[in-house]
Symmetry: C2
Subunit: 256 residues, 2 copies
Amino acid sequence: MPTAAALIIGNEILTGKVEEANLTLLARELFGLGIELERVVICPDDAAGIAADIRRLRHRFDYVITSGGVGPTHDDVTLKAVAHAFGRPLVRSPELVTKIREMVGERCTEGHLRMADVPEGADLVSTPEVPWPSVVMDNVYVLPGIPRIFRMKLPLLRDRLAAGRRFYSRAVYTMCRETDIAEMLDLVVAAHAEVEIGSYPVMDGDYRVKLTVDSRSRTAADLAVAALVAALPTDAVVRVEGGRSSSGAAAAAGSH
Amino acid sequence: MPTAAALIIGNEILTGKVEEANLTLLARELFGLGIELERVVICPDDAAGIAADIRRLRHRFDYVITSGGVGPTHDDVTLKAVAHAFGRPLVRSPELVTKIREMVGERCTEGHLRMADVPEGADLVSTPEVPWPSVVMDNVYVLPGIPRIFRMKLPLLRDRLAAGRRFYSRAVYTMCRETDIAEMLDLVVAAHAEVEIGSYPVMDGDYRVKLTVDSRSRTAADLAVAALVAALPTDAVVRVEGGRSSSGAAAAAGSH
């Protein structure tokens, strides 16, 4: 099954000046495609460091998606780092120079033209949503950090990434505390190897713990939910989400 | 100067089920202490993987702060991973067993007592804000993922981490576009080696680009701000933040 890593670039995030705002969206997008996001790294605007990260991540995972560091200023070093990671020079793309000259006309400066510098051999990929092309270099997808543009560029991933088998997700909300269900969970986890079970306590809400079930197999997901619901005290199940229908899942569980 | 890395643990973040909510707060806390947060890694609930990350990060950075994966359920594997990273067993702490028995009395189950399992040799550190102790193992600080508790535990870092020299931060908000100031910024960056200059465009707001200046030297920060303000068209400076006073910084710049 395909795997991915995200590399989020920017001193502003590491100093807390700017709140990271692309990760959750990217994570959901990949999950929806059936691609496992296995690692996220947040690193400073340092070309050598970014290049080393890209090299490492792209060999370990099927896809690497970067966010941030594309722009014309001194702290935008992602494309330089991608070039470096692939042992290629940064070259000025005639295609992008033409686009820039069309956009800014006579105001065009060296600052504008820097936006045309891309790693030699990179693909320039456009989608209907965003006229400005994105750089794709082998399995590395270079996206901008600005959340609104990042979001607009996500269809690129939908189009290009080979989707895996989808995940089936379920959730059981319960009034039980984690300490009271820890041993029961161990047993369910052991008996249901084909699912991932997560346990997330909250401090405010109409439930105490959310139990999540993810699986590539719909049947396996439904069976695990049924086992959880059957093992919990009836009045401690607040609701079940996902599955054929909430009541359906609960009914299947009830018949155990 | 002291450096730090954060290791954020949890499948729920990598699948987009839960939005990461501790990083910005941690980043600001460390920045305020003069500690450079140089790397953030987000990884799944996999004990062997977490142990490998901890081992790598703790040798490369002065401090490692982990978030998440402490609790009694099967997907809470951080303490096991910390033990593994240090080549120590997980042992049941009599001190914590006593605390748990005091808290839950006769309801006490194996699920509760799991919360008393800590890496052999770990420090158990309490702060007045949170009665439940945190595990500190050499330079690794283990914090819980639940944002409200994570936040309550931050004073622990304030007390224990050797603070660095503080950062002085300034910001210049401008109506210029990044492409128009990229070359000017290069010159200012080259002439002001003691500061970090960042450039952050926004799509909505009363400015187009926020230029940030951080330095361990107050004088260096003020000089860089003055240089930026002097180099920007007067009517393109929306405001200056930080420094002796906004107007002070602007006045200093004006005298160039």
